[in-house]
Amino acid sequence: MEILFLIISVFTVITALTALAVKDRVVSVLAGGATGLFASILFIIMAAPDVAMTEAAIGSGLTTFIFFFALRKIRRNDQDHSYKVSEVTNRSREND
């Protein structure tokens, strides 16, 4: 059981680091949701099924949905959502 716990902990940290390092916003949001999902497995092993259910349904499911709803509002004129500083600068200049 400890080995399984250790492996899933490593996965949790790896997905969190992915959310930090990756360039694409969408992938970052998805990696954040995956962190919650792996953490809910950890909660089950630590004998907390209530918390695991809540984390899987709310922390991982609904939060990701809300992020995507917000991203859909944002992406309307930000078609190239891969994040580049120079582009953002140019666009704001055009708006001025």
């Binding site: 984390e55 922390g59 708006n95």
Partner: protein, 116 residues
């Protein structure tokens, strides 16, 4: 052993989330950092209530004696904390959307009104 691993994982998640929230230039990814921070805090709280070899605090039989259960109080706290976390995330995202509508960008350096 499980408790120690869980506390270490939670601390790493806290650090990663805070790092992401502090150093990113993109508001959406700062908010993702905050959710990761949340998950780390929840892991630490649950592992403080963990008792090695304990079972979940659900009593199927009143006459069961000698079964060791884990602490239910941190679990109840985390249960409410997760739901509040969703509310706070929705709130932050609403602000992000409104800021985007005002400025047309999500880059934090472009919001210069509050700079000193």
């Amino acid at each position: 052993m499980i408790g120690t691993i869980a506390v270490s994982t939670g601390s790493l998640l806290v650090l990663v989330g805070l790092w992401s929230a502090l150093t990113n230039r993109d508001i959406i990814r700062m908010i993702v950092g905050f959710t990761i921070f949340d998950v780390g805090i929840h892991l630490i709280m649950i592992s403080v209530g963990y008792i090695s070899g304990g079972t979940a605090p659900i009593i199927s039989n009143l006459s069961d004696i000698g079964v060791s259960y884990v602490d239910p109080v941190p679990q109840a706290l985390v249960l409410t904390a997760i739901v509040i976390g969703l509310g706070i995330t929705a709130f932050m995202l609403t602000y992000a959307v409104n800021m985007y509508e005002k400025k047309g960008t999500l880059e934090i350096d472009k919001f210069e009104e509050l700079k000193w």
